[in-house]
Amino acid sequence: MQYIPNIIFVIALIAGIGYFTKNIRKVIRNIRLGKDVDRTDNKKERFSNMMRIAFGQSKMVRRPIAGILHVIVYIGFIIINIEVLEIIIDGIFGTHRIFRFLGGFYDFLIGSFEILALLVLVSVFIFWIRRNVININRFKSLKGWPKNDGNIILYFEVVLMTLFLTMNAADLQLQNLGADHYMKAGAYPVSQYISPLFNGLSEGALVLIERVAWWMHIIGILIFLNYLYFSKHLHILLAFPNTYYGDLKPKGQMDNLEAVTKEVMLMMDPNADPFAAPPEDEAEVEPEKFGASDVMDLNWVQLLNSYTCTECGRCTSECPANQTGKKLSPRKIMMDTRDRLQEVGDNIDNNGSFVDDGKQLLNDYITQEELWACTSCNACVEACPVSIDPLSIILDMRRYLVMEQSAAPSDLNNMMSNIENNGAPWPFNQMDRLNWNQE
C-alpha cells in the first residue's frame, strides 16, 4: 500500500507526457505538410541567431516594459524547471527534497526559485493589467478565444506559482516543528511570510496542505504542458527552431520561383521547339501550382511560423496598413494560417488522409482585401521577436491570385500590362527612356 502514491505519480507522469508527445507529433506532421525549403545552410549563423534571439531574448527587449517582464517570466520558467526535476524524482521514489544533499547550494537554489516565483507573480499581474485594463490596442483587438487563451495562460502561472509557494510555506512550518520526513533544508525568503498563515495548525493539517499543494503543483504543470498544444503558447518550445530556421537573406529579397524560372528560360531559349510534345514521363504530371491558396502550398518554415506565433501583436502594431485602418493584420495572417493548418490536420486525423472540405486558406480565412493592402515594407518581419515572416505568406498568396486566377486589382493589371508592353509601370514608350536628358 505504501507505494500507491508512487504508482499514481508515475501513471500521471506517463499520461501527461504521453498525451503531450502524441500532440507534438501531430504538430510535426502538420508542419511537414508544407513544401520543402532548404534551411540547412550556414549552421553557425543559424545557431547564433537562435542563441541571440530566442535564448537571449534580444528582440523582446526592444519594447522595454513588455520585454523585461517577459525576460523575468522566461527566466522563471527555465530556472524553476530545476525544481520540477526534483519533484519528479521525489514523486517516483517517494523521497522528499532529494537535492537536499547539496547543502548551502540547495538553500541558494530554493531561495532563488522563490524570489523568481514572486517576480513572476508580479510580472504576470502586470501582464494581466496590460491585457485587460490598460488600453493597449494589440491586446484590446483580441476577442473571444484568443483573448481568453492569453488570460488562461496567465491564470495558470498564478496558480502554479502560488501552489509552489504554499507548498514551501507548509514545508517550512513542518521543518520548524521537526516533523517526521521534513528535514531542515532550503531557504524560504518569500514563503516565510506566507508561513505564519499556518500558525497553530496541527502537523496532520500541515502535511495535508503541503501534500495537496505538491500534488496540485505537479499535476498543474502536466496540465499546462498539455494545454500548450491547444493554445497559442507553443512558442516556449518552437521559438528555438523557428529562430534557427529563420530566413537569413536580406529582408528585401524575395525568393524567385524555380518553376517559373524553368518556364521563362524555355520561353527565352531561341533553340526551344515551341511545338515539341512533352516528354512521355512528364505528360501525366499535373503542372505545379503557382503561389499559395491553402496551407499545403506554403513551405514548412511558414507553417512552423504559424505554430510559433504567440499572438503578441507587435507585427500588427507596426503594420502601416493596419495603423491606417485597413483590414490587413500580419498577426491575423499567422493565426489564420495556424487555424487552417489545424483544421487540415484534424481532417487527416479523422479521415486517414486529407479529404477535400471545400475550404481553403484564401477567402475562407484570409480575404483578398487583406492581401492587397500590404506595402511589403517588412515592418512586421522586423517587429517579430521570434523571426516569423508574415510577408512571405502574403506574397505567396498574391502569387496565386495573380498567376493562377488573374485576380489582381484592375489598377495593378494596368501596371503589369504596361510593364509587359513598354517596359515601365506607366504607359510611356521605352524609346523615350532617355528623353529626361533633353528636357
Partner: protein, 263 residues
C-alpha cells in the same frame, strides 16, 4: 530646363570600345516621372562633378520587374529580369548604381539567382564612397543649419540595412539632422511599396503617406529628405495635403548635395 548634360549610353561606349566605371540604372520613375527626373539630373550633375566615368542603358533599359514581383506576378518579373540581365551581361557590366531603392533591392538581391551578378549600390552609398575617396566634396552651402529629417525608404533601410550612408551625406551638409520618432529599422513606410504606388489604397481611416507625413511634420523640418522617388512622391503629396508645401520641401539627398553647391 534647357541645359543638357552629356549622358553617354552603353551602346555608345561599346561602339567606342570603352567600358564605363559604373552603369547608372535610371529606373522607370527616374526616366518618366517629372519629379523623379529632377533627381536623375541632380545625380548626373554630381557624377560629372566627381568625374565619374558612367553610362546609362537608355532605351535598352526596362523595368526591373519589382512592382510585378511584389504584386505576385513572378512570370512578368522573371521575364523582365532575364531580359535586363541579357542586356547587362552583353555589356559585361560589373558595377551598377541607382537612385531607386526598389531597383537597388531587385538588382542586388533577386537578379543573381537568375544570372545577373553585379556590384549594386544605392546612389547615397555611391556618393558616400566618392566622398570618402575625395572625388566629391560636400559642403553645407545654402542648407547649412536647416532642419532636415530623413525618411528611410523600406527597401533601402529594413530591406537591406542601409541606414547611415544617406545620413552621413546629410551631416556633411552641416544641416541639423533631426530623426523622426520612427526611424531606421522602425521607420514607417511611405505607403508606396509592394506595388501600392500603382493602385488605390484599400478602405481605411487614413492614407499611409499622411500618417508618415505627420511623423515628419512633428520634427518641424525645413526639408524632408528622401532617398527614393516613390517615397518622394508620397511625402510630397502628404505635405500638400497638410498645406505645408510653401514652407517644407521634399528633396532627394542627391538634390540636396547638388543644390547646396549650385551645380
Amino acid at each position: 530646363m534647357s541645359e543638357t548634360v552629356k549622358v553617354p549610353t552603353m551602346a555608345e561606349y561599346m561602339a567606342e570600345g570603352k567600358k564605363p566605371e559604373v552603369l547608372f540604372w535610371v529606373g522607370c520613375a527616374g526616366s518618366f516621372d517629372d519629379r523623379a527626373k529632377k533627381i536623375t539630373k541632380a545625380f548626373v550633375k554630381l557624377l560629372h562633378n566627381a568625374n565619374v566615368d558612367f553610362a546609362v542603358l537608355g532605351t535598352e533599359e526596362s523595368c526591373t520587374g519589382d512592382p510585378a514581383k511584389r504584386s505576385g506576378n513572378e512570370f512578368l518579373f522573371q521575364m523582365q529580369a532575364v531580359t535586363n540581365i541579357e542586356v547587362m551581361n552583353a555589356y559585361e557590366i560589373k558595377k551598377v548604381v541607382t537612385a531607386c531603392p526598389h531597383c537597388f533591392n531587385t538588382l542586388k538581391n533577386e537578379y543573381p539567382a537568375l544570372g545577373g551578378d553585379y556590384e549594386v549600390m544605392h546612389h547615397t552609398q555611391f556618393l558616400k564612397s566618392l566622398l570618402d575617396e575625395g572625388r566629391l566634396t560636400v559642403e553645407g552651402g545654402k542648407f547649412k543649419g536647416k532642419r532636415i529629417t530623413f525618411h528611410d525608404p523600406c527597401y533601402l533601410g529594413r530591406a537591406n540595412n542601409v541606414y547611415e550612408a544617406p545620413r552621413d551625406l546629410l551631416r556633411k551638409l552641416e544641416v541639423e539632422l533631426i530623426e523622426m520618432k520612427r526611424c531606421k529599422r522602425n521607420g514607417l513606410c511611405c505607403g508606396a511599396g509592394g506595388a501600392q504606388m500603382f493602385k488605390e489604397p484599400e478602405p481605411g481611416i487614413k492614407d499611409v503617406n499622411i500618417e508618415r507625413t505627420e511623423d515628419a511634420l512633428e520634427t518641424k523640418p525645413d526639408i524632408i529628405a528622401a532617398g527614393c522617388p516613390f517615397c518622394n512622391t508620397m511625402m510630397t503629396d502628404g505635405v500638400k495635403n497638410k498645406e505645408k508645401e510653401d514652407s517644407i520641401e521634399v528633396m532627394d539627398v542627391a538634390e540636396l548635395i547638388a543644390n547646396a553647391q549650385d551645380l
